[in-house]
Symmetry: C2
């Protein structure tokens, strides 16, 4: 990247124009050279030269054939070559490691999932990543290219050094994943925090293009968020931006969070909390449904099980979700009033249960959002449980589109 006081030269000028043309072709999918000229302001000869370069050297564009004439020579249509160009995305979670091979339009070619088996240690996890990559590489055709590997890690990643500074999920601190993977992978790879990647996926490959202000909330066993503001994915001064789980939503609460503070959203509204409230209700014998579904075994009570009970109409479980939604709404209120996003996406395990949570939040949001912010849309994350994988893919796709990869 060009630094603050770096010159602009003719090479960068050319690169900029090449990027403009590539992005236009990807955006329009099918387009003629003369249409590119109109949209970009570049002249036809320049476009011919650059498009040919993209076809012959970068192999990111292909000729499609003739388009319809409108009273003259019919246009030669070119197309973004999404097939035969692939990316590997990896979601490195505490319970599963998931890998996927996708084309540049995010169509899944192949997918693999293996248990993480944390107890076997860091070395074993590296091994599993390498094995997944090797397997996925076999699933591509002979003339097809894999541009790189994106990895979403459940932990704090320093984007400068590549060091995983800390990961409560894995129990890691100061792990140099880059160094280890460098030895074992011969493809370009990049990684970042998994929730941040969910936001990147939403930014680059979400349902709406050109959204510049939104937040992705990831609710699993913990609660985190990825924030996009003015089109930028926020990292913050030390890379900690997005710690949505540790804003206080009930200062008088006696539930202590892992972080030591009281009343954190994560302590009050995470998957863990749903399960523990469920267990409490089971022990107090307040729900027949929970008893039935778990067979009375409290170890079998999970957030998912409580959600199922609620969906089946269990009043106690519904009350739990009502409470959770109330807390989440307070948190969303804070984020909405502070950042004025266009959309708040909710992802992670909790968002998969058919709209129960969204219905509750929709009912409650009036209480916590400024009148002027009520228009904010609260939606499930576009890519569901593949959100991190897609985000990891977006990390690579972004570099391809910026011509940073060969």
């Amino acid at each position: 990247m060009r630094k603050e006081y770096d010159k602009m030269d003719i090479g960068l000028l050319h690169l900029e124009n090449k990027k403009v043309i590539l992005k236009l072709i990807k955006h329009e999918n099918e387009i003629s050279r003369s249409a590119i000229a109109k949209k970009s302001g570049l002249t036809p000869p320049t476009i011919t030269r650059i498009v040919n370069d993209l076809i012959l050297n970068d192999k990111l564009v292909e000729r499609l054939g003739l388009g319809d004439s409108s009273g003259g020579r019919p246009p030669l249509i070119v197309k973004f070559k999404n097939t035969s160009n692939h990316v590997i995305g990896i979601d490195l979670g505490a319970t599963y490691i998931r890998g996927c091979l996708v084309d540049l339009n995010a169509n899944f070619i192949s997918e693999i999932q293996v248990p993480t088996e944390l107890e076997k240690g860091f070395e074993s996890i590296v091994e599993k990543i390498v094995a997944i990559v090797a397997k996925l590489r076999k699933r591509k055709g002979p003339d097809e290219k894999i541009w790189g590997i994106g990895i979403g890690v459940a932990g704090l990643v320093n984007s400068e050094t590549g060091i995983i500074e800390s990961s409560p999920d894995f129990g890691w601190s100061n792990i140099d994943l880059r160094k280890e993977l460098d030895k074992r992978l011969d493809l370009p790879f990049f990684y970042d925090n998994s929730t941040r990647l969910m936001a990147l996926g939403e930014l680059k490959m979400g349902i709406r293009e050109n959204q510049k202000n939104f937040v992705v909330i990831n609710i699993g066993y913990g609660i985190a968020s990825g924030i996009v503001a003015e089109g930028n994915l926020l990292k913050g001064y030390n890379g900690f931006a997005g710690e949505f789980g540790h804003i206080s939503v009930d200062p008088d609460s006696d539930v202590q969070c892992k972080c030591g503070m009281y009343g954190c959203l994560e302590a009050l509204a995470s998957g863990h909390r749903i399960a523990s409230l469920g267990i409490q209700e089971l022990e107090n014998n307040r729900s027949e449904m929970l008893k039935e579904l778990s067979g009375g075994n409290k170890d079998l009570i999970t957030a998912e099980l409580v959600a199922n009970a609620a969906l089946k109409g269990d009043k106690t479980s519904l009350e739990i979700f009502d409470k959770i939604a109330e807390y989440l709404c307070k948190g969303i209120g804070v984020i909405a009033n502070l950042l004025n996003p266009e959309t708040v996406y909710i992802g992670g395990g909790i968002s998969l249960n058919e709209g129960l949570l969204f219905k509750l939040i929709e009912e409650k949001k009036k209480k916590y959002l400024l009148q002027s912010n009520l228009k904010v849309q609260i939606l499930p994350a576009t890519h569901g449980d593949q959100a991190t994988s897609i985000g990891a893919v977006a990390l690579i796709l972004n570099k391809i589109m910026n011509l940073e990869l060969r």
Copy 2:
């Protein structure tokens, strides 16, 4: 500005390099052509040509003389021409309108303050702005140039249309200030929300350069904030970003905010609240000092008076500030944990009382900030009660440095 799919051409290339050189000269203040070459990567001939252009045409750079030789021809030093280039900054507040004439290094040449007199209406306010500008223009020398006028408005400004969509302070909605001022001013002028401008001033003209993540909290009769994240001043989807005053810090509070919600930071910790708590204590006869300072007249009790009492050691007033600091700290905790800023600046009337508030916040912050965010610095706004004016100047200076003004 260049749009997403717009070409880059050789004119823009040249403009970019001109900007690089201008910014380098301003940043270094005094620098030789060959040093510019080293820092920018541009070659000496190019630099000579562009620097001469900046000296002769733009008049933003001047020759200073010879520097020290280090064994060869001594360098010809050039300098950013801050004197004889001026900007007018205007702080349009509900009680006062303040105008200042400053040079491009933010040195004050002249300053004017007039009461706003809201009751005389919009037309009268426009008149006052025009009069301030006319007066300030007379205070510049004959060969000196005023580049433009920046205006900070206490209200929500739509930066696309220039419409002031709403301003509780002025009781305005959908006011087209641009249209009115266009008729009366023959200098380029731009305006934005005053708190956002405080943040812009901190970004472009603050004590630290190159801070990319920070927040400015403006505590006056209301509470607002300006957020800079990844080097960008946040506006949000509808331009509402920064409504820090309306995050809930005490959901159980029975103090209702003007916005209709309960427990808003603005309702609990603004200048208004400090005064109203002071009045309450006076009426309950709990403070001799407040009684003495106000002569028993509750209409004379202001936030400033309570602050003075606290500084003189009045226990009741200290308790008020303690409570206020507690609420503010909760709010700062939310912002710090969510955005991971490097610094949180506090400005507005409340920040002027000699560090009392900062001492209290420093003591309390452990309770509300994640361990990893405790390093965040909480400081008074660099430019004190001139923060909005300086921000308004920064708005223009920014355009000058981007060569958007002639």
